[in-house]
Amino acid sequence: MKDELDAVAATTARIFEALWSTGTEPGDPPYWAPQVWEALVKAGFTLLPIPEEHGGAGASMLEAAVVLREVGRFGVPVPLMETALLAGWLLSATGLAVPAGPLTAAAPDAMGARRVRGGYVLTGTLSKVPYGHIAENVVVVLPTTPPLVMSLDPRDWQWVRGRNLCGEPRDSINIEGLFVSEEWAAVVGSDKEINGSELMIRGALGTSLLIAGAIEAALSASVSYARERTQFGRPIIAFQAIQQYLAQMAAESAAANAAAMSAATNAARNGSPDPIFVGASKVQAGRSAGIVARLAHQVHGAIGFTQEHPLHRYTTRLWAWRDEFGNERHWARILGERALSTPGLWDLVTRDTPGEGT
C-alpha cells in the first residue's frame, strides 16, 4: 500500500512541477489552475475515492489524502477537495449523476426547498462557496428532515465574487425561486449519514491534509533559506536561535501530518471519516499552521513578507485554511463535549483504528 501511495504522490508532484508556475499570483485571473485540473482529470485523480460505478476511480481515501497533501505542498488553486471529497461524495452517495467537474459543495443554513410538480423550488443564500464561479455544478445538502441533496447548474448565476486569504474564490449568491428538476435532487434515505455536519467533517479532513502539505512546503522553504542566507559571516542556519525555530517547525509538521494521515487512514478503513480523529487533526492542523507560518516568516526576514518571494503562497494558505471547515475552537468544543460525557477521555484517546499491525 505504501508503494502505491508513494507512486500516486509522485505522479501528482510531477503534474504540478510541469504545469504549475509558482509565479502565478493567486487571486489574479483566472483565479485557479485549469491546465493543472485537466491533467488531474486525465490522471483520474479528481474523483479518486468515488466508486467506479458512479464514474470515480474507486480508490481509497488514503490515495485521495496523499494527492491533497501534494495540492497543499505546491499551493495549487484547484477544487480537488471540493470535487473528490465533498460534491463527488454527496452525488455518488445519493445516487445522483457525478459530472467530471470541477465541482463544489455547500451545506447552507439559510435555504429551503418547496416541492412542486416535477421537482423543487429553491430559495435562499449560498455564502462563501469554494470555487463557486469556477464550478460546473454546485451540490447542496439542505438542513431539511430528511436532508435533501441537489445538484445545481450555476451557468447563468451572477455570483458575488469573494476570496479567502490566499486568493481562492469564495463566492456568494442569493437564490430566489430556482426550479430544480427532480432528476437532480435526492432525498437522503434514513439509513444514510449524509448531511451538513458530515460534509463539515469531510471538509475538515481535506483541509487538514492540505494544511499538512503547505506546512511541509513552508518548512522546506525555511530550511533552504536558512542555509543560503548569510549574516555575520555565517549561514543563518548555524545560529542556535534559527535551529530552534526550524526544529519546532519540523515537530509541528510531523504532528500535523501524523494527525491528518491517521484520520485519513481511519476513514479509509472504516468507510467514513470519524469526527474525533478528524476533529483532532483539524485542531492540530490549525495550531501547527499558526506556529509554522509565524516562524517561517521570522526565519525569512523581510524578503518573505514581499509578493516577490514565494513564501506567502504557503503561509496565506495556512492562515486561510485553518479557519475553514471549523477552526481549532470549533473542533475543540466538539471533542471536549465528547470527553466530558461517557465513556470519557482515555477511551477517546485509545479508540483505535482496528488494524493488522504487528
Binding site: 530552534q244 476533529g279 460525557s341 484517546v349 488494524g355
Partner: protein
C-alpha cells in the same frame, strides 16, 4: 525533509489485551494496591506491583520466549504501558530494564548476558538504572569523564554518575565510560558496562528532588571491577549503542502521559460539576486533540523502531512536543480548575495531582536529553539534506 512516518495500526487482539490490563488495574485499584499518581514511571517504585505485572506477562513483553520473555510485539507492549501510565500505576521499578536495558541486551549483549539478565527482567526481579549523565556531562554526553582502565580479566571504572534514578534500589546500571583516551573523534573510545550497583567500590548518595523525594542519586565508581563478561556490546562502540538506546528512551508514551492523570482528573471534576463552560470544554477538547496526535506520532515511531528503522530524529521530535505538552497540561489545568495545589491533599485528588505535576514539571523537558539539545539534533538533520 525528514521522511514522513507511516500511520501505525495496532495488531489484532490489541483491544482484548487492553481490556485485560484495564480489568487488572480496576481490580488493583479496588483492592487499594495503589493510588494513581502523575509521573509514576519516575517515582512509583513498587516491587510487588511489578511482580504482579510480570506474573501476567506484562514485563519484558518483547523479550523472546527463549530468554524467558513473552515474544510479544512492540505495539502490544505499547498498549500495556500506555494503560499503566494513564492509570498512574507504580511502574518505576522495572521501567528502565523493560524499556531500554532489555532491548539493548537483545541487540548488543552476548548470549551469556541475555541468558543471565533477560529471564530475571521478565520475572520483574532484576531492575536497571541509567549510567549516562555526569556532574560535568549533561546534554553533552560525549564529554563523559568516567574512565575504564584495562585490568586482568576485565576493567576498572573510576568516575561519578548523577541523576541516576532508582540507583539505590536497582540491581544494575549500564555505565557509559571512556575506555580509550580522548582523541580527535570524541564519539570514539566509549564503551558501555553493566555494573552491579551493590558491588565493591560503588557508593550511592541520594540527591533529593526539590520536593524532598529520593529518586535521584549520585553514584561514585571508585575502581569498580567489571569483568569482561559484563561489557555490553563492542568495546569502543558505546556512542552508537547509546544513540540507538535513546530512540527507545525518547519516543514512548511516558513522554506525553506524565500528567495525563491530572487532565483526566480535571475532566472528571468538570463532568461532576455538571456546569462546565464553553471555554472549559474547549480547553479539554484542545488538549485531547493534541494528545491523540502525540499518541499517533509515538505509535508510528514505536512501529518503525520495531522494524529496525533509524528514527532517532523523529523520536527527538516526539519528546520535544510531548514533554512541552505535559507542562502545558499543568498550566491549563491550574487556570481552568481554580483548585489550590496541595501536596498534602489526599492522593488521587485534583489538588494533589496539580501539586505533584507542578513540582515535577521542570524535569519533563530535561530528562532524556534537554529539548533544546534535541532540537539541535533535528535542525542538523534538516540542514544536512
Amino acid at each position: 525533509m525528514l521522511p514522513l512516518l507511516e500511520t501505525a495500526l495496532l495488531p489484532i487482539g490489541a483491544e482484548r489485551l487492553r481490556k485485560e490490563v484495564r480489568g487488572f488495574l480496576a481490580e488493583q485499584t479496588a483492592a487499594g494496591a495503589f493510588v494513581g499518581t502523575c509521573d509514576s514511571w519516575l517515582s512509583g517504585w513498587d516491587e510487588s506491583f511489578t511482580e504482579q505485572l510480570a506474573a501476567r506477562g506484562w514485563v519484558g513483553m518483547t523479550i523472546p520466549t527463549k530468554y524467558g520473555g513473552h515474544g510479544r510485539s512492540a505495539l502490544e507492549r505499547y498498549v500495556v504501558i500506555e494503560e499503566l501510565l494513564a492509570a498512574g500505576a507504580p511502574v518505576a521499578a522495572h521501567w528502565v530494564a523493560d524499556r531500554q536495558s532489555a532491548p539493548s541486551l537483545l541487540r548488543y549483549g552476548t548470549e551469556l548476558q541475555r541468558q543471565s539478565f533477560l529471564p530475571k527482567i521478565a520475572q520483574g526481579r532484576c531492575f536497571f538504572a541509567i549510567g549516562m549523565s555526569e556532574p560535568d556531562s549533561g546534554s553533552d554526553l560525549a564529554s563523559v569523564r568516567t574512565v575504564a582502565q584495562r585490568v586482568k580479566g576485565g576493567w576498572e571504572l573510576y568516575g561519578t554518575k548523577v541523576w541516576t534514578s532508582g540507583a539505590h534500589r536497582a540491581h544494575f546500571f549500564v555505565v557509559l565510560a571512556r575506555s580509550e583516551p580522548l582523541g580527535p573523534d570524541r564519539h570514539a573510545g566509549l564503551t558501555q558496562f553493566i555494573v552491579n550497583l551493590r558491588g565493591q567500590g560503588v557508593e550511592i548518595r541520594p540527591i533529593p528532588l526539590l520536593t524532598g523525594a529520593h529518586d535521584f542519586n549520585e553514584v561514585v565508581l571508585n575502581g569498580v571491577f567489571v569483568p569482561d563478561a559484563h561489557v555490553l556490546g563492542e568495546v569502543g562502540s558505546g556512542w552508537r549503542q547509546v544513540t540507538s538506546e535513546l530512540g527507545f528512551e525518547r519516543s514512548g508514551p511516558e513522554r506525553f502521559l506524565s500528567t495525563f492523570l491530572l487532565l483526566a482528573s480535571l475532566a472528571h471534576h468538570l463532568e461532576s460539576s455538571s456546569s462546565s463552560t464553553t471555554a472549559e470544554t474547549e480547553e479539554i477538547g484542545e488538549l485531547l486533540a493534541r494528545l491523540i496526535t502525540l499518541r499517533q506520532m509515538s505509535l508510528s515511531v514505536a512501529a518503525a523502531l520495531s522494524e529496525g528503522s533509524e528514527v532517532d530524529v523523529q523520536a527527538a521530535l516526539v519528546k520535544d512536543l510531548g514533554t512541552r505538552f505535559e507542562q502545558e497540561v499543568v498550566e491549563r489545568v491550574r487556570l481552568v480548575s481554580h483548585v489550590f495545589a496541595d501536596q498534602d491533599a489526599a492522593p488521587g485528588t485534583l489538588a494533589y495531582h496539580l501539586a505533584r505535576s507542578t513540582l515535577h514539571s521542570p524535569g519533563f523537558t530535561l530528562r532524556g536529553g534537554t529539548n533544546e539539545v534535541l532540537r539541535g539534533i533535528v535542525a542538523r538533520a534538516l540542514g544536512h539534506q
